[in-house]
């Protein structure tokens, strides 16, 4: 129980540090933040008096810690603040953006699982065989291809050449297919490699021959003694996969001109819109910490030795 409490404590420290780090990066980035806000707001060069006004509004002239505190304090009461550019509340805009990104990420993950599980199972049927080598080659190529390139290829093929699917925007539900495929193929590549090595390692465990000689069927062996061991590395990497998924989603949304967290974040960074950037950072950090916390707890359920070793 004490170790679970420690996990929560560690999680909150991570959250505060992340918020502070991004705030500081934005603050110390070269260029005048007030100018960036002004250009985003008025689409024109403005007189110095207006810049001064923006500085006062956004707290750019109060010093780093004061600005950080005046952002953090409302947040603790659940208020994400107002956009420095439009003056509108950040929260509703953020919710809209999430509404676009979540289906994309979930579909991407499902596509990743859909391709990687059968591929890994086929590949490990005969390690070193041609199927295995093909799967490894595909996975390596998939991991090496950047999302923006793959996205453009898919647009060329399915939208331009064949004309089957829409490429840009998010008007209909069909619009999600190409972005999700772009994202999902990348996920499939890395998941295949992890699943493959996890399965191979789990099947190479020294105790399995004894179980076979005890007369336990292949199916029961795979289900009860291989799968749980193979799951451990996959669960480990799932936390990292989530990072990949979010990062990929940002990229893919920009390529496909799709509204969502990615476009929200990129426009906010360009305009030095502190409250918006910080909102996205906090949201992703919370997501990360929660998922990794769940993974830690799941670990302890599968193999209690992990918890004992920590304590």
């Amino acid at each position: 129980m004490a170790s679970v409490l420690a996990l929560f404590l560690r999680a909150s420290v991570v959250l505060v540090c992340t918020a502070l780090a991004t705030f500081s990066l934005l603050w110390h980035a070269p260029g005048d933040p007030a100018l960036a806000v002004a250009i985003a707001r008025y689409q024109a060069v403005v007189p110095d008096a207006v810049l001064d006004q923006i500085r006062t509004e956004a707290g750019f002239n109060t010093g780093f810690w004061t600005a950080f505190a005046s952002w953090l304090r409302p947040l603790l009461q659940g208020d994400f603040g107002q956009s420095a550019v439009t003056g509108r509340d950040v929260w509703p805009e953020l919710v809209t953006a999430i509404g676009y990104t979540v289906p994309l990420a979930v579909l991407g993950l499902l596509i990743g699982l859909f391709f990687s599980i059968p591929l890994a199972l086929l590949a490990t049927k005969k390690p070193g065989g041609w199927l295995d080598r093909l799967a490894v080659a595909l996975a390596s190529i998939g991991a090496a291809i950047p999302a923006y390139w793959l996205g453009l290829l898919l647009i060329l093929l399915f939208a331009v050449q064949l004309g089957w699917l829409p490429a840009m925007g998010a008007r209909t539900s069909a619009h999600v297919i190409l972005p999700a495929l772009t994202l999902g193929l990348g996920v499939a590549a890395s998941l295949t490699r992890i699943l493959r090595s996890g399965l191979l390692e789990a099947r190479g465990q020294s105790f399995l021959p004894a179980f076979r000689r005890r007369g336990i069927s292949r199916r029961a062996l795979e289900r009860d003694h291989v799968a749980p061991h193979a799951a451990i590395p996959v669960i480990t990497v799932f936390g990292l996969e989530l990072a990949f998924l979010l990062e990929g989603a940002v990229m893919v949304e920009v390529i496909f001109a799709r509204p969502g967290l990615g476009t929200f974040l990129v426009s906010a960074i360009e305009a030095r819109d502190f409250p918006k950037v910080q909102a996205v950072v906090i949201l992703t950090a919370v997501l990360f910490v929660t998922v990794n916390l769940l993974i830690d707890l799941l670990y302890r359920a599968i193999d209690p030795r992990i918890g004992e070793r920590d304590a």
């Binding site: 021959p209 004894a210 005890r214 007369g215 193999d303």
Partner: protein
């Protein structure tokens, strides 16, 4: 039932790691399979188990270390139930308790995973698992080398007592002639993937014929080294 296996041989990557070998073991007999490391004794033991199993004969193997016999992620109860199911037996607490009693497996929480038990108790549990189906032959591969001597001696004595009244034959695989000599009535000596001697224990000890058997006999005891 008498165990008969003829012409056992094993090849791996084009090389013979066991040359054709016949093994005959009477019901209730104790046989030692000895040889230096790499002489092929474990290969022979495993090949024998696999061949007999394929033929549908009842045979069980106890590996060197409990780590090679138990899944660290599964409870002891799971292992037990799984072995019962594999043998087509219904769950029977009385039968289990009788085996545990005979091997003095104490106070083990069956819901715990193997690593929560002491190694000595894990090894006894593995032996109990092996005896569950009352096999015709029990093959033990270096059963004591992973255990403390006191625990190992206790386990071997209990097993001896258990097997005394039964038809289960024992094949004891070990590199240590001293250990085998104290437990078995017949010795099979292996060298370079061949069986080189097969005779009653006293005969091998008194008049070893081959260089492998001579080396094992000469190095049987620490205090009688040919220095």
């Amino acid at each position: 039932m008498t165990i008969v296996a003829r012409g056992l041989s094993v090849h791996r990557s084009g090389r013979s790691i066991l040359y054709p070998t016949d093994i005959i073991i009477e019901p209730g007999e104790r046989v030692g399979l000895v040889g230096a490391s790499g002489s092929g004794k474990s290969t022979l033991g495993h090949a024998l188990v696999d061949t007999l199993r394929a033929r549908g004969q009842s045979v069980a193997l106890v590996p060197q270390s409990p780590d090679d016999a138990l899944d660290p992620l599964r409870s002891m109860q799971f292992h037990w139930r799984e072995a019962e199911r594999a043998l087509g037996l219904d769950p029977d607490v009385v039968r289990r308790d009788a085996l545990f009693e005979a091997l003095r497996i104490e106070a083990g929480d069956m819901r715990k995973r193997p690593w929560a038990w002491s190694r000595g108790m894990q090894q006894r549990f593995v032996i109990a698992l092996a005896l569950l189906g009352a096999p015709d032959l029990l093959v033990m591969d270096e059963p004591t080398s992973a255990l403390d001597p006191v625990v190992a001696a206790g386990t071997m004595n209990l097993l001896d007592a258990y097997l005394k009244e039964r038809q289960t034959a024992l094949l004891l695989i070990t590199h240590d002639l001293g250990l085998a000599a104290a437990r078995v009535s017949r010795l099979i000596v292996m060298d370079a993937c061949h069986v080189v001697e097969n005779a009653p224990t006293e005969t091998v000890l008194a008049t070893p014929q081959t260089s492998a058997a001579k080396a094992l006999c000469a190095h049987r005891n620490w205090l009688e080294l040919p220095c």
